[in-house]
Symmetry: C2
Amino acid sequence: MADSPELAQAIAPPADSAAATGDLNSKETINLLVGHPSARLFPLTTLEQHFSRTLLNPPPLHERDRHILTYGPDQGQYTVRRSLSNYLRAVYDIQGEWTEEETENLIVTGGASSTLGEVLKRCTDEKTHTIVVEPTYFLVGGILEDAGFSIDGNEKGGQKVFGVPWLSEEADLAGSVETLVQSLTNTDSLPPRYQAKPTSRLLPRAYPTAPPPRRLYDFILYLTPTFSNPTGLTPPPSFSLDSILGPGLRVGWLEGPSPDLVAQVAQSGVIKSGGSMGHFNSTVIRQMLMKRAVDVPVLSQLMMTYKLRAGALERAVARNLPRGSTLLGGKGGYFFYLGIGSESDNVDADEITTLAREEGVIVLPGSACMLGGRNGGRWVRLAVCYEEEKRIVEGVERLGRVVRRWYEEHGKEWAVDEEKAKVEEPRILAMRYEELVPPVEKVNRRKRAKARKAEEEKAAREGGEGVIAEGSQKLASVPSGGAGGAAASSGAAEEEVGEGEVKEEGKEEEKEEKEEK
Amino acid sequence: MADSPELAQAIAPPADSAAATGDLNSKETINLLVGHPSARLFPLTTLEQHFSRTLLNPPPLHERDRHILTYGPDQGQYTVRRSLSNYLRAVYDIQGEWTEEETENLIVTGGASSTLGEVLKRCTDEKTHTIVVEPTYFLVGGILEDAGFSIDGNEKGGQKVFGVPWLSEEADLAGSVETLVQSLTNTDSLPPRYQAKPTSRLLPRAYPTAPPPRRLYDFILYLTPTFSNPTGLTPPPSFSLDSILGPGLRVGWLEGPSPDLVAQVAQSGVIKSGGSMGHFNSTVIRQMLMKRAVDVPVLSQLMMTYKLRAGALERAVARNLPRGSTLLGGKGGYFFYLGIGSESDNVDADEITTLAREEGVIVLPGSACMLGGRNGGRWVRLAVCYEEEKRIVEGVERLGRVVRRWYEEHGKEWAVDEEKAKVEEPRILAMRYEELVPPVEKVNRRKRAKARKAEEEKAAREGGEGVIAEGSQKLASVPSGGAGGAAASSGAAEEEVGEGEVKEEGKEEEKEEKEEK
């Protein structure tokens, strides 16, 4: 499935799709598969402000930084990593004193995909196995195979990938892995080494209730299950800020458990030669973090938009899918994982996926989220990031019709759960996304100056001047219209290089405004 | 050497170095090693204009494009590749009708280093050998080793890398390779497969006099020798436009010999998942190509600057290095390759490099450009891209003093070639770079608007409105102040998506100017 032409087409929706143009009444196929943000949600004007500012007034550099346009340091700009470490303290609500090691444990990357490739290249060898929690990201297989891993694991010897079933966010992951290790050591003479994305440090942060992994593994690849988002934030801080601001920017980060292991990745031949991927763009994004231009105006709107869509999807599933259906997710992230009907109904999600496409709705079958395309049972993945609320609801209705027909054709009793279906729209839905996110439009400089001024006045009313308090604040998990929004970047790093700059730029801004008048 | 702490320090010059600040009288160590452009030469304001334009007025998309901020198509934006194919026609002076295949043979990448990594990952296996022409790029070893190649080639079996000595740009490369293949097949049971960077199509373009390679190899890795630039352009179109505009942008391209082979690379797991690296930034650079904002204002100034520096270095070498010294390069690119003294003088370039560092000038010894750090004889690599002309001359003088002392200590006769040393400064040097490239300064919006207007008026005087003629023009190899500069992007692609846009944007620009008044 992961290589079928239909899938290839579905993950490359046309640039003029309804999701891009915002045509809510379009009759075209509804794409609940693709994990892209709707084009309308990209913060073009905010990005423009910060690209422009960064190039015209390059930020002061730390002695370990390089010029914003030259080859970046292998781990990425020091100031970027320092701001990022503060941002992560805020996201994960980390208490206690900031330490230099938090910055040293970070690498600025070119996004999660290429990072995973680099990690596999630098941290695995021909004796390494990798364990992946299923259901997983459906395009991870190609990255593992390029790194020399055999997905089906049937060959004797060589690098293998093993799937561990996801149990729950609180489940004992270490226990599941250990059972697997045990069975491996009984059947295979290879030493039980488990290496991949070094997120063991992050694991306890994200899953405070999970027991710490035992010392058996050098480190653990923890690919978040496809519908899960441990932080409860929507959208997630998914190791790639650009998946919020715009994946085309190709900027992400990797947090390792120790500076040694991080350096092992940063010493990749590709990085030593070309410098940190995403060097310039990460500098721009850092400026945005410093000015609270990510969390308040962008992230809070996105979170609200996705929350509205997620709520609409949940209600549509309750009204249109048969009794016994299970919906996982919705606490953040871009995806839900939907088990259709009761387990005993034996729904074949691959078959449903094919029928749904004919009915004009594309979903990802669970088999695509299993390693090697193994049986995904009654499960499908549904995205809330790409289509607008109205079309998501229509997509679920189309899916419901297909499932109903399948039930009838297979002689199974079809009924919705009447109690669940009665749930009313929550009050929050009185606010529509149109009020939250203005549509994309061509803006000229005049309009932009006005918009920026209004934005700054609003920011000033709400939290004063963009000057950042010491210490860290937690990101609000459900923002209320931007008020009380979170401090994106805070603390020690800004004392060194930030504050002066914020004030200075503020003045320059004022002068420009006057000149334009 | 390639891993020494001294080298690591030298290739990471501090952000406030003389080359960054433009302090010509600085007493600090002169760095003739590093292959970065001087910070002063980055076109900050030009880039700002185009980042701003692209975000505020996103370009029209081809049906095979994606939104500028979402995940890019695997091969990169179609419009970007189409403009690039026209640009390459101009650079290589390709005649004949443009074909769709020229676009299909291109991938937009994240720069040369990561591209080489992807190619090795996708196009080699455990039975593949790679042949590298020496002297080579000194950081290529790490990329090859990460891909599983053994550099020293002593192990039996496994993937090996072999060096082929560079003879001359016209030499029979295929012949040298074949000799190597012969010796391999005699001593090794592996089948002679040779795969790496698929540039065999480009090889005849760049080296029209070289015989086409025989069908013995699937394709050939042709890493241009470290001092060589087959096009004769300064700086080279080195598969990464960003090494001209700013390496921190992380944008390059790969041209393959056939769409099949290109697709094989583009199907990399990392690319299928994250989309084309450099997606957004390549869209911006394409806009710059369309508006002739790369070749006329940027490239021509850089070419002139580097040409002045290269001339100064040549004269300084003639005046300060002993008779018999050989200087290769200078026809383009960032580097010269200098053989110190006559071969019979047996100069040890490693030793000279160490002494030179003590004297305050850093050069790269030839051994670093040989695979596995093998003996590099009397050769050193000298860069003209990083330090200013005056400091390059002083650097060569310091090197000359070191060499003279070495000659005296080894009881060898030291003398310059008086005839060569007499060469006068060519007239072109009457123009200093200060007149050509204004220093970087903080610019506000008002100044920027004025600067842009002046630039556009100049462009209008010189070639009319940025409207692009059909067909392709060759890039002038030595520009005369921008007049008659080259058409960066031309032909069919722009007919489809370009012209309308150029005109429309022109109007909008005008309106903005009025509003600002």
